[in-house]
Symmetry: C2
Subunit: 194 residues, 2 copies
DNA sequence: ACCTGAACACCGTTCAAGT
DNA sequence: ACCTGAACACCGTTCAAGT
């Protein structure tokens, strides 16, 4: 790209994301990131505490990108919400396969990430998930969607996710979520696959 | 432990698993594994092609451990099957948190792993999942269960999984699986959610 | 056949300098 | 304030030896 003489944390993270997208997580190395910025590796430590901090930064980057496309708290139709979540996460995993795996691995405790999570909790509460279930349901939903999306993007599965597969993920999650919505007792939601 | 003068692939993998359990994935290093066997790092290369091969071996180890406790193809009650799977995977993730994360990350194409998968496919077929859905349903199930289990074990979530949480995972997966089973109550989502 | 010593390229990180 | 050179500990890996 260009040759910015002046580095910033944002520039470092962007370079790291590029390296990850092109060469996988193993490609995210201090020298590699530095080279993309026309800088020596040591210069990075001015903007990033250490490599762990750099990876945390990548995770936060993806979370923000996930969140801007996420359902707002005024959403109410569970199926639409889940559908959007699955679509957005799958697309994200396709564009950033290596880093999306990190989302599953690393704890995300930054203020921004916590805010995103609260927002999600609010959505779940609004559609009828009981207060004491909200936190765990959110974990299950994000784990499922991210694992399927990231798993296919990083080659855990031999074939890529088709549109039909994506549809099945939505149906699965919607039906599973149904177990925590009022007005029913663990019945399966739909029968469209018969 | 002891001081085996003679090394084998099994011993190397066992030592690597021990290192992973104690010090996380970063603790799985050629010198560290070798030290556990009272051997120099170079000796490992006689039994393991490279580090990638070593990690593949760890994954296979866990898959086998998972499989011995898995439902047999004569199982028929979906809820019991899912329950057992969740219990076994959660327990496995608790004992081997670091490596269980690897299960989610690395493709598993060894003959043994493929056999395990076929076995699972057979179970799904038996309980009524249609042929063209079997592969994707298996991906969704394993991704969900492993991600939730491994995610809590590696500290992605702040609090550990309680028994109640585990129960919720079972309920979620059973309900989700219901979307792909015949003969359940013919409710549609739209009716349920008004 | 199986292990070791020496050696190499490479990575993360620090610190004292440079501008 | 921000970047660089030199330096260190450490890791993955190879190869020619040793037994």
């Amino acid at each position: 790209m260009g040759r910015p003489v002046c580095i910033s944390r944002g520039a470092v993270l962007a370079a790291a994301l590029g390296a990850a997208d092109e060469n996988g997580l193993d490609g995210v190395t201090m020298p590699a990131v530095a080279r993309r910025l026309n800088v020596t590796p040591m210069a990075l430590y001015r903007h990033v505490r250490d490599k762990d901090d750099l990876l945390d930064g990548l995770v936060e980057l993806l979370i923000d990108e996930l969140a801007v496309a996420m359902p707002r708290s005024d959403a109410s139709d569970p199926e639409r919400i889940v559908e959007r979540f699955v679509t957005v996460a799958t697309d994200l995993a396709r564009r950033h396969p290596a880093v999306s795996m990190l989302l599953l691995t690393r704890p995300v405790n930054t203020p921004s990430a916590r805010a995103r999570r609260s927002q999600f909790h609010e959505v779940l509460r609004r559609i009828g998930v009981r207060d004491e279930h909200v936190v765990t349901v959110e974990r299950i939903l994000t784990s499922t969607v991210l694992a399927v999306a990231a798993g296919q993007a990083t080659g855990r599965f031999s074939t890529a996710l088709t549109d039909a597969d994506e549809r099945m993920v939505v149906d699965f999650v919607v039906a599973g979520l149904g177990a925590f919505l009022p007005g029913r007792a663990g019945l399966s939601c739909r029968e469209i696959h018969q």
